[in-house]
């Protein structure tokens, strides 16, 4: 971190010799700002302690216990993890989550890129385009889902079926069908999230050095060659970042399957997060131990992804 390379701004400049000779007593500690630093740290220590550090420790403890809200917890060793792996729905929910992630990449990865490259060449009204692209992102997610749920009305009079009917397609079953349900969920999720990706790409495109384009022009590169051989390689970093971000995000997807289909039809859209929720809170009933065990396994996967992200962005910023 940056703590090393900046000169410590510690209170009164006492040189090291005198410092080692002064006996450290509570009074000198207070004088030298120890107490006020501690006072300023109270909010962060309390909030992180109670709502971040302790719950993390508590998650490990709970994953080794049989526990719910009413009975006293009982230690059960690794039984919860065994239950997770014995869960007949585990392969289904992993497959569904991976399918959601894959579809989200297919729908949501190339289109924002093309849009952003086009937008970055705008000489005027760039703001209008950005605002339009970002608009769905500010719509509250619950509103977006409930609105799209209505769009997905499977009757021929449904919104999407009406529109597609104009060109002679449909009617489609959308959420009511096991094959159609997941792509429908992803389509809405893409609508809601793509604007953010566009803005990230736009910010990255602004930082492509103009000299590179100038140099390419001197070499007689055409417009398309400039886009392909100058712009794209410069975006490599940010493309990788959005990829990892998207995987981390989609691996935890909950809202869409929960509100659109509640995992149905026939578990076709039940994701890992929804399974965690169902184990802990739904009718399956307060199986906190197993739910925590499953969430820890998912977290381990996500932590690996974040670590990759962290390492790579770090090596970039150091180079």
């Amino acid at each position: 971190m940056t703590t090393d390379d900046v000169v410590p701004a510690a209170p009164p400049a006492i040189n090291l010799h005198t410092r080692s000779r002064i006996r450290r007593t509570p009074v000198t500690w207070v004088r030298r700002g120890g107490l006020s630093a501690l006072l300023f740290a109270i909010p962060i220590l309390f909030i992180f302690g109670a709502f971040s550090w302790w719950p993390i420790i508590s998650a490990f403890i709970m994953s080794l216990q049989k526990t719910n809200l009413t009975d006293a917890p009982v230690w059960v060793g690794l039984d919860n993890f065994r239950a997770v792996f014995a869960d007949p729905l585990l392969p289904t929910v992993i497959k569904n989550t991976a399918w959601f992630a894959a579809l989200a990449l297919i729908f949501g990865y190339p289109v924002p890129l093309v849009g952003a490259v086009l937008m970055s060449e705008l000489r005027k009204r760039k703001g209008l385009y950005s605002v339009l692209a970002y608009l769905p992102v500010v719509v509250p997610p619950v509103v977006a889902v409930l609105l799209w749920k209505f769009f997905y009305d499977p009757r021929p009079e449904g919104v999407f079926n009406t529109v597609l009917g104009w060109v002679g397609l449909g009617p489609f079953p959308w959420l009511a069908d096991a094959t159609w349900a997941m792509p429908s969920l992803v389509l809405e999720a893409t609508w809601a999230a793509a604007g953010g990706t566009v803005i990230i790409y736009l910010a990255a495109l602004i930082s492509v050095p103009a000299e590179l384009y100038d140099a390419a022009e001197v070499d007689g590169a055409s417009v398309w060659r400039k886009v392909w051989h100058v712009t794209m390689p410069q975006l490599r970093g940010v493309l990788f970042i959005t990829l990892i971000l998207q995987i981390i995000g989609t691996a935890q997807v909950f809202l869409e399957p929960f509100l659109f289909t509640n995992g149905g039809p026939n578990h076709a859209t039940e994701t890992v997060m929804l399974r965690v929720y169902n184990l802990a809170f739904a009718n399956l009933g307060n199986n906190f131990g197993q739910a925590t065990a499953l969430s820890l396994l998912l977290a381990a996967f996500l932590a690996v992804m974040s670590l990759v992200y962290f390492r790579i962005t770090r090596s970039w910023s150091q180079s």
Partner: protein, 333 residues
């Protein structure tokens, strides 16, 4: 505006993605340093792949103008279209919504939906709950991030390094893990009664955002040390330094964190859904979910009303929103 950015915090908890489980989730797309960069050439600061000479060539000019026009149409259709449709539904009688969703007011418009949503389903009351939720969550986040950042970046006691790592480490822990232990903590806190249906159940965990702390600490790092030294020489203690010097200089970053904080609580669903169950505290997002099966016209009016405020906020604070969203890309360099 610069910072001494070295690395980027990994966004372990993508709260911005639809469907994240976060109580304390920072926005994924926003995990980055506070840094803006401009293109290098001063004489033509705004150029992209196309040069001015390219734009003069008719073939290039008309191709790109054409593509830009198509893009605009697609954006209008894909991004604005559904929202315009929602606006139309809010004023269309339920019967027409169900039978002719794409016709424009086949049997006239009505304000009955709005009236129902507002007066019978009390959207306004739940809207106020969301406002309370957002205000409190904003306050804890600002309090923790500014005081924490001050300790880590300016005061720097011996144990700051340990604290820094303890905070950074939580970036790697996704919200999924916290969900159940936090719920248990809220239901059975070690002191006092259950916090279910108490705003503190959403306010307090919101403060534990490592992302905010990192963002603010980085910003404090970039403030000139000489000013702090000068203040110390003039006899200002840490409290004065914090309140009269550091905070007033930090308006930009406080603005960014505030916008993130308000949006995050506006969007949050799962956590308030679990802990704010009573109608007296339920925020709008949770209430809308329970309205899913009411009369379609009323539901559409309720959805439209709930969208109006965030969209108005976005249009007013466009720059801040878009700059914040773009932070995700400003990692390299």
């Amino acid at each position: 505006m610069t910072t001494t950015a070295a690395s980027t915090p990994p966004p372990a908890l993508p709260g911005a993605m639809p469907g994240s489980a976060g109580a304390a989730a920072p926005s994924a797309a926003l995990a980055a340093t506070v840094r803006r960069r401009r293109r290098a050439t001063p004489d033509n600061p705004d150029r992209g792949a196309l040069s001015t000479a390219d734009w003069r060539r008719p073939s290039v000019k008309y191709t790109w103008r054409g593509m830009h026009f198509v893009l605009l149409l697609l954006l209008l259709l894909w991004c604005l279209g559904p929202l315009l449709l929602l606006g139309k539904f809010a004023f269309t009688p339920t019967q027409d919504i169900l039978t002719h969703p794409m016709s424009i007011f086949p049997n006239g418009a009505t304000t009955k939906n709005i009236d129902q949503a507002w007066n019978r389903y009390h959207i306004g009351q739940f809207f106020m709950n969301t406002v309370w939720f957002a205000l409190g969550a904003w306050f804890t986040q600002i309090l923790v991030a500014t005081t924490g950042g001050f300790v880590l970046s300016v005061l720097r006691p011996r144990w700051a390094k340990v604290l820094n790592w303890a905070v950074l480490a939580t970036l790697f822990v996704p919200a999924v893990v916290l969900l159940i232990p936090l719920y248990k903590l809220i239901v059975h806190p070690p002191i006092g009664d259950s916090l279910i249906n108490n705003f503190f159940a959403v306010w307090l965990p919101a403060g534990a955002s490592a992302f905010n702390v990192v963002l603010v600490a980085r910003f404090f790092d970039s403030l000139p040390r000489e000013i702090f030294e000068a203040a110390r020489v003039d006899g200002a203690g840490p409290f004065r330094l914090f309140w009269h010097i550091v905070l007033p200089m930090s308006k930009p970053i406080i603005g960014v964190v505030s916008v993130f904080a308000v949006i995050a609580s506006w969007k949050d669903f799962l956590w308030p859904f679990l802990v704010l169950k009573d109608d007296s505290v339920k925020p709008l997002s949770v209430y809308l979910q329970s309205m899913a099966n009411v009369d379609k016209g009323t539901l559409m009016a309720a959805l439209a009303i709930s969208t109006l405020i965030p969209i108005a906020m976005f249009l007013i604070f466009q720059r801040m929103f878009l700059r914040g969203a773009g932070l995700g890309g400003a990692v390299k360099g």
